[in-house]
Symmetry: D2
């Protein structure tokens, strides 16, 4: 049985993401996390539209980000997105951003999402069936 | 009869809006225009939620922006937003951004919006009644 | 002796900050935190340009954000920014965002910044004198 | 002799780019234009860092954008970026964004950039030699 699922994508730093110090503005990393999460969702059938089709939206309730190195204009980045299952009705991802050329660890982070009914925005307290099925299909439980 | 309506607000340049050259990234000016447009809407009863309550959304179909001077971190800006009525079913605004300290003209621009049915996204070809009423109430026609 | 310094500002949610679920996209909250931090800096003489004049840049090395309620277009927000001194050469802020109308707590968060030499980007391991002086002047130590 | 140079890239719409109407917020298109311009620069040796190495920065002085269709979350976009030479010391690009699936024209636009001395930000009134050389090398003059 697998303990986690992982996906990696490569991005590059855009001009508009760099601040007056010549490095990526700290807030843009949440976009890189989302790029990683969306690519993960596409690969493993767990995209926003998949949740929606099942009757849920999955807003982020916690985000955390640690900055270890800076990125500059044109830098190539590896975004490594890891899903680790948990028992509660939550979706936890961790992220590692690496400089694609030097291999240096640039940023680590994590997000937690919950399930809300897509119409009423009420919190789903237990794991939706489709999500449990997905975990089974992925060999995670 | 008035030829136009005008509103001004004061903004300041945020750190996250400045690029690696130390000046505001050109794309952020569309946000300043929108800030001006939203303040205008609040003042004159023509906000996005007012349109929506009447059954319309009003997307932008043209935007144009001329950059004459740069803005730097911390600069104070005057955004001057002017509505000029036209006969067709469109909403035209022009913008002038001034450096609030030096009075220099920094940027000029314009936007055109159209009326879409809020549910079907179909184009409204003639001026909605509420909009004509608004122009009358403002002394513009 | 004071244990902390606090500043509050009022913001409102812009149209461009709201996502397709009709609520503020989670990443924009880091901008609200920065708005709070910049207003705090202006009030207490601890702005980015003040650091720079002393020879430092102060990048964020950790950010954390917990989302408790959603914000919608037009909502008014109170951003409460609190500085709490610590012994190490770091700058710690915590944030509380409140719905200005209902008083509900919307988001809490925190950031940590470090001092880098503005030219060499080398880490300053001890508190710069000007920063210790600032803490004394504010009655924090 | 060529009349113009063209480059195309494929993008997809990110969740964070979609507004509360479910369509890409109009301001984000300037980022798509910049993505196109950066890819063009990489392909033809005319990137921001190439200009900088020659002593210039090339800020945008005019941008214009016409919106014909909407884009939604997940849509795939073709960005077609065309450089057309002119005699004055300016860099003109035009853009066409197409829905990659339907082929529909979504947005057209244009930008004009000028050459500034990278240190003094003074305007370069005549074409820099390196730029004329580049046009010759590309078979444009």
């Amino acid at each position: 049985m697998k303990k986690f699922l992982i996906d990696t994508i490569e991005l590059h730093v855009r001009f508009s993401e760099v601040d007056s110090l010549g490095v990526v503005w700290h807030g843009h990393y949440l976009r890189y996390f989302e790029d990683g999460r969306e690519a993960f969702g596409k690969k493993y059938g767990l995209g926003y539209l998949d949740y929606y089709a099942q009757g849920y939206v999955v807003p982020i309730v916690t985000v955390q980000c640690d900055y270890k190195q800076v990125l500059r204009y044109g830098d190539k980045i590896i975004v490594e997105t890891t899903y680790t299952p948990c028992e509660s009705a939550k979706i936890n991802f961790t992220y590692r951003l690496l400089n694609a050329v030097t291999g240096e660890l640039v940023v680590t982070g994590s997000t937690t999402q919950v399930f809300l009914n897509k119409d009423k925005f009420t919190l789903q307290l237990t794991n939706p069936d489709f999500f449990t099925d997905w975990k089974v299909a992925q060999g995670l439980i």
